[in-house]
């Protein structure tokens, strides 16, 4: 499964797009495929302070409830407003329209331990 080279990935199957002091977070194509039809996404509130690796919400498919973690820490500045009405957007466009939330990164925010696209590809090929 293809994953964009310009993103960082967590072992819990989230992706992070770093852009200056802002990070956009979503779940990977591998994750959406494993979950199946996504019917509900519960996102953090704008303004919430998220610790790195903190549990920030849930992603629910027809059969399962999965926790959503944030691979980086910071303050939530935006959540994807489309997902409330169209959660299946995460299935259709996991790396684009299906993004989940944006954080203003903590000072000295850590990205250590996150994977490159190549390394994440190897992880999910196992």
């Amino acid at each position: 499964m293809a994953q964009p080279a310009d993103l960082l990935y967590s072992k819990e199957h989230e992706w992070v797009k770093m852009d200056g002091d802002t990070a956009t977070i979503g779940i990977t194509d591998y994750a959406q495929n494993a979950l199946g039809d996504i019917v509900y996404v519960e996102l953090p509130k704008v303004g919430a302070q998220i610790p790195r690796f903190g549990n920030v919400g849930v992603v629910e498919s027809v059969k399962a409830v999965s926790d959503l973690f944030s691979p980086v820490g910071g303050e939530v500045v935006e959540v994807n407003p489309e997902l409330d009405n169209d959660p299946a957007l995460v299935n259709r466009e996991p790396f684009e329209g299906g993004w989940m939330f944006k954080l203003r990164l903590d000072d000295g925010a850590q990205t250590s331990g996150l994977l490159s696209a190549d390394d994440y590809g190897k992880l999910t090929a196992e």
Binding site: G36, D37, V39, Y40, E42, E60, V62, K63, V65, P87
Partner: protein, 369 residues
């Protein structure tokens, strides 16, 4: 605690599922397809065209002897003696407390009976039935794991199946069955199902199952017959208000509590659990299964607590998004009598937040005739 380690078995169609790219999960002791493409796409196929299901995990028992009907009438809540050859009937085995041991279907054939039990209860029911055979003159044999069961369900079922069976299926009435053939292979064909749609269930020899399965998919590919997994099946049955053993019916949840009074024939002289069920029905103060439609988009899941005002009145037993109910989230809940009245606004607690829901009459979905 002791646990019995039993290897997960494969149905006669296991290789076909793998070839179709199904996601397999252990269910009722068998490795079963939960989905082939997507639960929602398969659901859509069944509601508008038809889906093909492997239900070979379900227990198939054969009952023979003059006394089967009288014997079964004492162990179950519905009437067995009044069944005519070629008839199928939903029924429930109950314990002395009225709790459900299993919900089943009896199929009366000219010279024998077919009893279909839930996969997860097959071992329990085999033991239970055998322990009640003494002096009954009833002969019990199991075809479980040997015979296959293929279902075709959906509005196009007749069109898709009729050219390939020796049975006049359009003349076969709902909840009737007959012995015949499908693609020239011996089959019991029944107009029964668990989806809320028209459809047929075909009991065939395990050795013939793959050929029938593959032929039906090939010959109806253009008409949109979709192999359909247990994931979609659960959504379909919930929308149709049909109980799933372990959820709406258990050894602790009686048929009366499950709203299945129509199945319970109190006019029968005696059956296991009759006194308990009669007392429960007359007292009319029992917790019961209610249908819930959620206000918001958060799905209600099994085990979530249900409140009437500030008072906890029960818990969710099944829940799902319901594409056939305006894409709302629906659920069944076991709640106190007061909270089970259609129209009652209740609250479901989901991860610490209260979400509104309305109690509705079951079923959630009824097909247009």
């Amino acid at each position: 605690m002791t646990t019995q380690e039993t290897a997960v078995k494969q149905t006669a169609l296991y290789n076909e599922h793998v070839r179709l790219g199904a996601r397999m999960i252990p269910f009722g002791g068998f490795d079963m397809p939960v989905q082939y493409t997507s639960i929602l796409r398969e659901h859509e196929a069944v509601r508008h065209r038809a889906g093909l299901f492997d239900l070979s995990h379900m227990g198939q028992f054969i009952l023979q002897g003059e006394n089967v009907a009288a014997w079964a009438d004492e162990l179950t809540v519905n009437a067995v003696s009044t069944m005519k050859p070629g008839q199928a009937r939903y029924n429930i085995f109950t314990n002395e407390r009225g709790g459900a041991l299993d919900d089943v279907i009896f199929y009366k054939l000219p010279d024998r009976w077919l009893l279909v039990v839930n996969a997860g209860n097959a071992g329990k029911m085999w033991t239970y039935l055998n322990s009640h055979l003494a002096n009954s003159g009833v002969k019990l044999t199991s075809l479980h794991g040997r015979n296959a069961l293929i279902a075709i369900q959906g509005p196009k079922s007749v069109t898709m199946l009729e050219r390939h069976t020796g049975v006049d299926i359009s003349a076969l009435k709902y909840y009737f069955c007959t012995e015949g053939s499908v693609y020239g292979k011996r089959a019991i064909v029944a107009r029964t199902g668990y989806t809320g749609e028209d459809g047929f269930e075909m009991f065939v020899d395990g050795d013939d199952a793959a050929e029938i399965w593959n032929n039906l998919l090939r010959d109806n590919a253009n008409a949109g017959l979709a192999p359909t997994g247990l994931g979609a099946r659960d959504v379909l049955r919930l929308e149709a208000g049909m109980p799933l053993y372990g959820h709406e019916l258990t050894e602790e949840i009686t048929p009366v509590q499950a709203g299945l009074d129509w199945v319970v024939k109190f006019s029968k002289p005696n059956f296991t659990g009759k006194a308990a069920l009669e007392a429960q029905k007359n007292a009319d103060d029992y917790a019961r299964i209610a249908g819930l439609v959620m206000d918001g988009r958060a799905p209600a899941r099994e085990g979530y607590h249900v409140f009437l005002g500030d008072r906890r009145v029960g818990e969710i037993r099944s829940g799902s998004i319901a594409p056939s109910v305006q894409n709302k989230n629906i659920a069944t809940a076991l709640v106190e009598k007061e909270a089970a009245v259609p129209g009652t606004p209740v609250v479901v607690h989901i991860r610490g937040t209260a979400y509104g829901a309305a109690v509705v009459q079951l079923p959630f979905y009824k097909r247009s005739q």
